[in-house]
């Protein structure tokens, strides 16, 4: 008797005892359904995290942070100025492993006026490379150019919220002038609207709120010359991130006259954190599913034991006509697998229905559930595995039955 006729036999047995089989499948159905559906939820969340991570520069983005001067350099700390545009120039000259480098000046919230409209926005001074480093996209006009930075031109690139709240609809604002904290600026570009809606809310909306101006213009209007609040690089090859870090450190150690008051930070830690979260997520889902699969497995074991008890005579007959113990073992394992297979398929269908129901009752874009083939295969595999494991004991019990005793059994 081969395994497939065993499976077929199992399907028949399950069909003969529809109600009992369905009851015994309950655990498997729920287990597989929750496994597949939760995998879908996890996958959705993970993709959200990753999308946001990528949109903010991805793993290529490296930042230069201000740190405390170590104890042994405390007395000499003043010989180093903090982060300046000279650092940026040095990086652009010396750090060959970075394609782009930019500096940022945070002017914070400032009042802007256009005609009789007033609007508050976050003003950020940037350089041209800010665009590639932060993956900024311009929808209309252009971004801040090198010449704007060199000459400290009062030009601005605005986010869509600024556009919508201050400027006439249906005409391009490029070329218009408006005031930022009392000084006139000319609009040269409008950013692409950033949208990533989760929980009914655009979680990237603050990116539509920004106004970018040349870092030099920001310095002269809002701060002191040379001062910057952030320096960022874009690695040209993520394989050489650590080399990039040491190149940058060496460069900055020179401009900072040997004082260790900066730190070059990659986003690898963020990524590791992200991956840890992913793993944690999958483990907790996994353990939940394993618990329901264990319960499902116990259900199947019980039904198999009951079924074997009813079929002791059958086992005796099969052995009398030549079945080996291994044939009987295989027969009952196949039966148990066929029960769990049906359960697995029903579970996958159920998860499909479940996800559709959840997606249709929740407001759009609240949750992102992505059912992957991987999840289906896992659900399917888990059901087969449960079938094998839960069938082992009953099948073993059936296989070792003595044929004479089995035939005498009433």
């Amino acid at each position: 008797m081969n395994f497939f006729s065993g499976l077929l036999n199992g399907f028949q047995e399950a069909w003969e005892n529809k109600f009992r089989s369905l009851l015994s499948m309950m655990g498997i159905i729920l287990g597989v359904a929750s496994l597949v559906a939760m995998m879908g939820v996890a996958e959705g969340l993970i993709r959200d995290f990753r999308a946001i991570f990528e949109r903010s520069g991805g793993i290529e983005r490296v930042s230069i942070d201000q740190t405390k001067v170590p104890e042994w350099q405390k007395t000499r700390a003043s010989i180093s100025s903090k982060r300046t545009l000279r650092d940026l120039d040095a990086i652009l000259d010396n750090v060959t492993l970075a394609d782009y480098a930019t500096a940022q000046f945070n002017a914070n919230w400032k009042e802007m006026i256009y005609g009789n409209r007033k609007y508050w926005s976050q003003i950020t001074g940037v350089t041209t490379d800010y665009q590639p480093v932060f993956n900024v996209e311009v929808a209309d006009g252009r971004f801040i150019a090198d010449i704007d930075v060199h000459e400290a031109q009062r030009v601005a690139v605005i986010g869509t919220n600024v556009l919508e709240n201050m400027f006439p609809k249906d005409v391009s604002p490029v070329g218009l002038s408006f005031n930022i904290a009392g000084l006139p600026y000319r609009i040269v570009g409008v950013l692409k609207k950033q949208m990533y809606i989760r929980g009914g809310r655009n979680i990237l909306d603050r990116l539509n709120q920004v106004v970018y101006i040349p870092v030099t213009a920001a310095q002269s209007q809002f701060g002191k010359l040379d001062e910057v609040h952030g320096i960022y690089l874009k690695a040209n090859n993520v394989a050489y991130l650590s080399e990039l870090v040491s190149q940058t450190e060496n460069t900055l150690l020179a401009t900072h006259r040997g004082i260790h008051d900066i730190e070059v930070k990659t986003r690898e830690e963020d990524l590791i954190e992200l991956k840890k979260n992913e793993a944690g997520f999958k483990y907790s889902i996994g353990s939940l599913a394993i618990i329901s699969l264990i319960i499902g497995g116990i259900g199947i074991t019980n039904v198999m034991l009951a079924s074997i008890n009813e079929r002791i005579r059958e086992i005796g007959v099969r052995k009398a006509v030549g079945a080996r113990s291994s044939d009987v073992f295989l027969q009952f394992i196949a039966e148990s697998i066929s029960i769990s297979l049906i359960g697995g398929v029903l579970g996958i269908l159920f998860s499909f229905a479940l996800v559709n129901v959840v997606m249709s009752i929740m407001p759009p874009n609240t949750v992102n559930i992505i059912l992957t083939t991987e999840a289906f295969l896992l659900g399917f595999g888990a059901s087969v595995f449960t079938g094998v494991v839960s069938g082992i004991y009953p099948a073993f019990k059936a296989a070792k039955l003595d044929p004479i005793t089995a035939l005498r059994y009433e």
């Binding site: 005796g316 007959v317 052995k319 009398a320 006509v321 030549g322 079945a323 113990s325 291994s326 004479i404």
Partner: protein, 225 residues
């Protein structure tokens, strides 16, 4: 064909030992039609199980077609059983969920032959016992006599050397009993070796040879041959 010598089978019953077979010597030749009679508990079924490789002996030997069987493991015995022995039971023991066709083909599943019996073979043996017209039915749609015919067909499907029938007419009325015995007689006339256990002296008369058992021993032998 089958040679049983000095066969002893003991069962443990708590502390005491029951000797179900107590030194049985028996030779079955090809074409034999042997009836085994004896009172209840005399060891007839035990002897049948030993001959049919369903059970191992406590001591003594069994040769099947010159092959000594005591060294065989249970899987080897199962294969030899499926190829050489056909069982017919008092209670028919057809599997209720299978059709007549699949019941008859059940031993073929386990025969491990290069060309196991298939539907035409099932039809052939069912025709031989006069049941081919019921091939698609389930056992519970058949009368007792019909079920026993089907179970004889099942015993024949692998063309065994020997058919062992333990009280095959015990659950049948007299008319069916006569018919089934006629069937066995005819099969034997065609060359089939058969051993039949019975309480019924008429049945015993039907067979050409018979032995009588008591307390696990053969106390009377009549081998006309």
């Amino acid at each position: 064909m089958l040679i049983l010598s000095k066969a002893v089978k003991e069962y443990k019953m708590g502390d005491s030992l029951v000797r179900a077979l107590n030194g049985v010597d028996l030779e079955i030749r090809k074409g034999d039609f042997l009836a085994i009679v004896g009172s209840s508990g005399s060891g007839k079924s035990t002897l049948m199980h030993a001959l049919g490789l369903m059970d191992t002996l406590t001591s003594g030997t069994l040769h099947v077609n010159e092959q000594e069987t005591s060294k065989l493991n249970s899987a080897q015995r199962a294969t030899l059983r499926s190829q050489e022995i056909g069982f017919v039971f008092q209670t028919f023991n057809l599997l209720p969920r299978l059709t007549i066709e699949n019941n008859v083909l059940l031993p073929a599943q386990y025969s491990r032959r290069a060309h196991p019996a298939k539907l035409p073979d099932a039809i052939a043996v069912l025709e031989r016992v006069g049941m081919a017209h019921r091939i698609g039915h389930k056992p519970n749609e058949l009368s007792g006599g019909e079920r026993q015919r089907v179970s004889i067909a099942r015993a024949l499907i692998n063309k065994p050397s020997l058919i062992l029938a333990d009280e095959p007419t015990g659950n049948l009325d007299s008319q069916n009993m006569v018919n089934i015995l006629k069937l066995f007689t005819d099969l034997n006339a065609e060359g089939q070796t058969i051993i039949i256990v019975t309480h019924d002296p008429d049945v015993a008369k039907n067979a050409r040879n018979f032995i009588r058992m008591r307390d696990g021993q053969i106390i009377e032998t009549d081998l006309k041959r």
